[in-house]
């Protein structure tokens, strides 16, 4: 009786172990399935012209399909647009985020800092589609039109909380002696922050920025109401502009262009995941 009971309990224990292993392994299935599908369907579309030519018109694509040829053109307009908007967003969000993160790290306990810290969480949790609405109201309406500027404002707002948090957290875990040593040598607080603390925190802040970029680069919803999209390569920042995720959305909705979905997705996916892995790798390396 006792022996039987022990055997039952051991069987339960085994069952639990195996179900955990199996269910955990199953979580890897979607990743492999997504990577596999995008890779298999997208890799033969990647060519030089895919990266240098803008999106074809639906008519051109239709003609090509009728003639049984591959669809001409590529996603150059999207890549250029993504780079321009990302560049502007990073240029604004990085200095602002670092300053704000430094403020939180230095004043962690005061009321206002805790309020800011709480609002940073709030902003980070705000759905991206709402950031899109807000930017539409703030930028698109007053400027009377969709633009690259509006798109980059949306991306910037989404990056800010991530950069603030990583800056704050990295500065907070620096040993206090570092700052004290700097101050003892006669530096004022600003100099110590600029010459001692920020360089020491560089690794953490840099990986934070990489993760923030990888988070927003695939964002589609906020760009739909701000950058809108554009079928040719454009460098003007006050006009509608395209972006890679916007192109995927367009291809998804246009039956003539559907063939281009997978190449664009493969490009975006590889870009995001590489950025992600690089950030994680650097974080691990710098932590040692």
């Amino acid at each position: 009786m006792d022996k039987l009971k022990i055997r039952n309990r051991l069987a339960n224990d085994k069952l639990m172990l195996w179900s955990i292993c199996i269910l955990s392994a199953l979580t890897a299935v979607p990743l492999l399935a997504i990577l596999g599908e995008v890779l298999l369907r997208g890799y033969d579309q990647l060519s030089w012209s895919f990266f240098t030519e803008p999106t074809p018109t639906a008519y051109k694509a239709m003609k090509a399909i009728e003639a049984g040829e591959p669809i001409p053109g590529g996603i150059a307009n999207g890549i250029v647009g993504t780079m321009i908007m990302l560049g502007m967003a990073v240029a604004a969000a990085v200095p602002l985020g670092i300053l704000c993160g430094a403020f939180l790290a230095e004043n962690g306990k005061n009321r206002f800092a805790q309020f800011v810290s709480y609002l940073t969480d709030l902003l980070q949790g705000t759905p991206s589609v709402i950031i899109g609405i807000i930017t539409y109201i703030w930028v698109v309406v007053p400027m009377k039109g969709y633009s690259a500027i509006a798109g980059s404002v949306a991306l910037c707002i989404m990056m800010l909380p991530l950069i603030i948090r990583s800056t704050e957290e990295t500065l907070k875990i620096l040993p206090a002696s570092l700052k004290e040593a700097g101050l003892a040598l006669g530096g004022n607080k600003a100099r110590v922050m600029l010459k001692v603390q920020l360089p020491a925190a560089f690794g953490g802040i840099f990986t934070g920025i990489l993760l923030a970029i990888s988070r927003v680069i695939g964002e589609t919803a906020p760009l739909m109401f701000t950058a809108l999209g554009c079928s040719f390569i454009r460098f003007a920042i006050d006009k509608p502009i395209s972006a890679v995720p916007l192109l995927i959305w367009e291809f998804f909705n246009d039956p003539n262009l559907q063939e281009l979905i997978w190449g664009a997705s493969l490009f975006l996916l590889l870009f995001v995941l590489t950025l992600n892995l690089t950030a994680k790798y650097l974080a691990k390396k710098w932590n040692q």
Partner: protein, 255 residues
């Protein structure tokens, strides 16, 4: 005749953490029933490691290897099911750690709950009272049995942990420096308690404190660098140690 009285016997017991280093080397010793045996030695000598081997605690960590034999009532526990062995061999750890999510009452009965053993209300009440009485905690907590044990003092928490182990009616109770986190008064209470408890259970206690070993144990082991250097009557060991290393340790020249 010895096999009748010895409840626990180490036979060339070895414990290794890595392939190269052995933390416990070929320990052989027989522990008598209803006695308190102290294991002494400088830190890192392998005394806790040896103790944990009896409860098969090392099975929880895949890289630790235990070789040789450890006999409990003549049966080699290294070949037995850990959950079976652990029910017959209780353990009390260095820092008192009652389960913070359970009441005092449930803490005493936690062994049954964890083992999935159902008891009637009367059996439960009787067990709780018996165990708390035998650790002299009953009068202090009988009115707060349904409160969490976390508000108790360190000494009371440790006694609760002893009660928790006793509830399973183990043959052997292992104690890993059970008083090192307690103040002198709480320590004194626990020591008095152990002297009484040896009537019902065989106690194997690891201690840093030579005075404690002298006060409570009838037999002592002295370990050094993983080896069992000396094992015998506590009286004899303190007055007339055989080995130079034991002498050096007991006179404070080592450790």
């Amino acid at each position: 005749m010895e096999s009748v009285t010895s409840i626990l016997e180490f036979k060339k017991t070895c414990v290794s953490y890595t392939k190269q280093t052995m933390a416990v080397k070929y320990v052989s010793a027989a522990i008598e029933k209803n006695t308190i045996t102290a294991i002494m030695g400088p830190s890192g000598c392998g005394k806790s490691t040896l103790l944990r081997a009896v409860n098969l605690m090392h099975n929880l960590y895949p890289n630790i290897r235990v070789d040789g034999e450890i006999l409990l009532n003549g049966e080699n526990i290294l070949a037995m099911e850990p959950i079976d062995v652990r029910r017959r061999v209780g353990m009390v750890f260095q820092r008192p750690a009652p389960f913070p999510t359970m009441s005092i009452y449930d803490n005493v009965l936690s062994g049954f709950a964890l083992n999935g053993i159902k008891l009637s209300k009367a059996e439960k009440d009787a067990t709780v009272e018996r165990c708390l009485r035998s650790v002299a905690l009953w009068d202090e907590v009988k009115d707060v049995l349904n409160k969490k044990g976390t508000f108790l003092s360190g000494g009371q928490q440790q006694r609760l942990c002893i009660a928790r182990a006793l509830a399973m009616k183990p043959d052997v109770l292992l104690m890993d420096e059970p008083t090192s986190a307690l103040d002198p008064i709480a320590t004194k209470h626990i020591e008095e308690l152990l002297l009484e408890l040896q009537q019902e259970v065989t106690i194997l206690i690891v201690t840093h404190n030579m005075g404690q070993a002298k006060r409570i144990s009838s037999k002592s082991m002295f370990m050094y660098l993983g080896e069992l250097v000396e094992y015998g009557e506590t009286e004899t060991m303190f007055t007339n140690p055989v080995d130079e290393r034991t002498k050096a340790y007991l006179t404070g020249k080592m450790g």
